[in-house]
Symmetry: D2
Amino acid sequence: MDGYKLCALGEDGKRTVFTVGNVKIGEDFTVIAGPCSVESKEQIELSAALARQAGADILRGGTFKMRTSPYSFQGLGEEGLKLLRDAGEKYSLPVITEVTDTRDVDMVCQYADIIQIGARNMENYALLSEVGKHDVPVLLKRGSDATIEEFLESAEYILKEGNEKVILCERGVKTFGTYTRNTLDLSCVAALKTLTHLPVFADPSHATGRRELVKPMSLAAEMAGCDGLEIEMHPSPDEALSDAQQQLSGPELAELLREVRVTAVFRDGLDLY
Amino acid sequence: MDGYKLCALGEDGKRTVFTVGNVKIGEDFTVIAGPCSVESKEQIELSAALARQAGADILRGGTFKMRTSPYSFQGLGEEGLKLLRDAGEKYSLPVITEVTDTRDVDMVCQYADIIQIGARNMENYALLSEVGKHDVPVLLKRGSDATIEEFLESAEYILKEGNEKVILCERGVKTFGTYTRNTLDLSCVAALKTLTHLPVFADPSHATGRRELVKPMSLAAEMAGCDGLEIEMHPSPDEALSDAQQQLSGPELAELLREVRVTAVFRDGLDLY
Amino acid sequence: MDGYKLCALGEDGKRTVFTVGNVKIGEDFTVIAGPCSVESKEQIELSAALARQAGADILRGGTFKMRTSPYSFQGLGEEGLKLLRDAGEKYSLPVITEVTDTRDVDMVCQYADIIQIGARNMENYALLSEVGKHDVPVLLKRGSDATIEEFLESAEYILKEGNEKVILCERGVKTFGTYTRNTLDLSCVAALKTLTHLPVFADPSHATGRRELVKPMSLAAEMAGCDGLEIEMHPSPDEALSDAQQQLSGPELAELLREVRVTAVFRDGLDLY
Amino acid sequence: MDGYKLCALGEDGKRTVFTVGNVKIGEDFTVIAGPCSVESKEQIELSAALARQAGADILRGGTFKMRTSPYSFQGLGEEGLKLLRDAGEKYSLPVITEVTDTRDVDMVCQYADIIQIGARNMENYALLSEVGKHDVPVLLKRGSDATIEEFLESAEYILKEGNEKVILCERGVKTFGTYTRNTLDLSCVAALKTLTHLPVFADPSHATGRRELVKPMSLAAEMAGCDGLEIEMHPSPDEALSDAQQQLSGPELAELLREVRVTAVFRDGLDLY
């Protein structure tokens, strides 16, 4: 625990809660939804409208993409940030987007209500320290082979610089398995709830890479104790420029969120943690 | 799918249901509970009483143990089977126990209502074929590095010999992680529900190896779609001869099952698969 | 070390050496070669001739196959054992073959000079104990997710019953990687040489699943300290009934063994362990 | 191969060779040695003297450290770079050091003959692109769960920006194993030699985390085909501020390099690739 003392759940059991838009993260069950990438004004506005209609709390959209191949679509950059911001404002949704370079943090913070650190950058300590110096909330995704301790130690880099608004997000780990894209590790969610006061989210879209598994894994993640979900949604999933096979359509998102919301209410009646 | 055609879920969506004792496996949410090992007449009788009281459906108890070290407790063998059978009858609980040797299958079938094939024997095809020739139901645990396809192909070895009463049980896979004993792969549970007509169970006790994670992972497994749970329980967990740290006490089991049962009812109201 | 005290390398550094045919295993660098499966009299005789010509020490050929799918070729059984034995005798090569069922051990021991326990059965403790009661040497393959300690503990099951002629064989572990079939873990070979007095072999054919990597990984395994290699060879690799893409032809085996033998001589001049 | 066309080995079999100091990387077998971290003027000067005496070609020393815990020693920063540079010049050794932040690349390039991208930053595409715009050679370490394809695609990010002097370095992957720190994947080295024209190195120190395994794994890596090694050495290993248990002393390094050099000569007489 020496490596993550600021993150550690204290004996008083007090948990971090902070407000983004209309939602108290860490207290209200929170749903982030939106496309993997901001592709155009039309696409992100339609996404925002559909996310709003489905009842999501926060709009996501990537503009600096982390793609394995340098020849894949790399995102629209700052132009995309403006489109995301405008779409969010038009539909009263706070926005979250990823930052990938220490030199971009100031700029991204001007547009984003939450900044995301992707799994590939979970151990980019220079970037973690830099976002720690800002006071925009950070959603930190678990590296695809990070242990629970390493995950908490990465969060500690952010808290140590003064930024205490950190969300931890489990998004699947690499295993020998090939049926799903990664293996969503819900015991990590459950373990984190016993170890840290920070809010814990899960991303069933990236983890499974399969549309038909998003619903059962979303509900399972809720019962494992997560405080929110990050779900990929696209107005026309089959035309998405990245990760098409895991993105839900607007109506699919709406149907999912109905069951997610009722499950959150049901869960509050149980004595989980 | 060529390797598991008998296991494959057909277009009609028909699922396997069979009766053990008072429970329709595959239809009624089923809880198997009991100690890792049968240790004595007193211990297994008390376990049966507590399992019954907590509302479990089936009593488990190992008598031929698969222990990594040859110097660990290896189980009571046939004497243990008699004790298990007697305890089950006394408290009206069907019993499940593991078989580990092709030469023992006939004998174990005389005592057990369900025979278990452990994770270490998931690819012991001689044993799978042998239990396939009997008509006692089989609970097949997933190997700790078996892919979903390999798991189904192992089940196919049993069905191919004529025994169609097979339960698949996810019990955690090996990853780089060390915080939990293994990593419970609930996306495997969800995927199996879309791939096979066989009932799917989960074992949160072996998977996590941590008492405090058994409840959240049990409820999460339910929401991922499983048809039953296998839970370790011991009258005096701290004195258990094996796997002490993951066994629940009788009262802990009773408390867990209350929430498991209400969650099963809640889940039936959703549209999962 | 409590779990593998009989296997442990003592302070005197004494290592196990035993004779099979003309080779002192544990002292002479030993090459086992032959097809994955015995397919016919002609195929195994031609394999024996080619193995002999290439300078291999021991002929391998599977007759009870462990195939993931029940619909794959399962081997010729006892008839295959006779063919293997005859081919070995005709070309003066001892033979090794796999046993997969406790009920077959007596029978297989009548034909085999070394019996092999496959990776899938490394934790089949009933089978390990049974071969421990015979006095035919055993080659035990590492399970695809077995730790080094678990591997040694499995060997201990054999030694504990009295059979001290055990060879440990590293054959690749499962990782997230997909380029090679498995990941040959040569640090396991090196570590075993520091932990146990038993001979240590490596199987670069199964581990890589790629013909072009067999040579570099064979030579690398030698320098990591192994005492022998198990190599797949087939008279007509492209017509093999199993694992075609990793089997060498006779001339390829001969070319490989020239470099393997000269490397063994070179290595003896270094001070490795 | 679409994702790594600039890295791909062409049909002409031409391989990248470039000069650093007195060594032709990709042609001469190259040894990088030095401490994990630059700790003081005395420590790095003594390291340089010992590395030179042992016959190493390049001096390493970390000054911007990537430590899992924010409370571990983080390196001396630019002051450390000057000390490293001075020590290298005093003993006529080119120097290699890690860069971790896009904002530091210009500055680090003023001191380093080779810049290293650590495993944790293998997917930090912003950093890869930035070093691609400089013309200092780059040693890129494989991420601890990167596939071979992902590794090559990361290198492609550097080449795409114009910097063609890239070394790929295998340093162990995460598996279920715990005996060694990571699992050195020498089949990755062998596979890379068949896939890319870039030089391939291996780091047996970080991979094994065990001093006694550094020699066998160094020699094994050579036979798998690597073009060089990166070895940790410290004047007083037991006093090292990081990774003490895997660092060799000066005399241990000298003894290792004698066998490494003779093995390189031996290997050149074989027909490996």
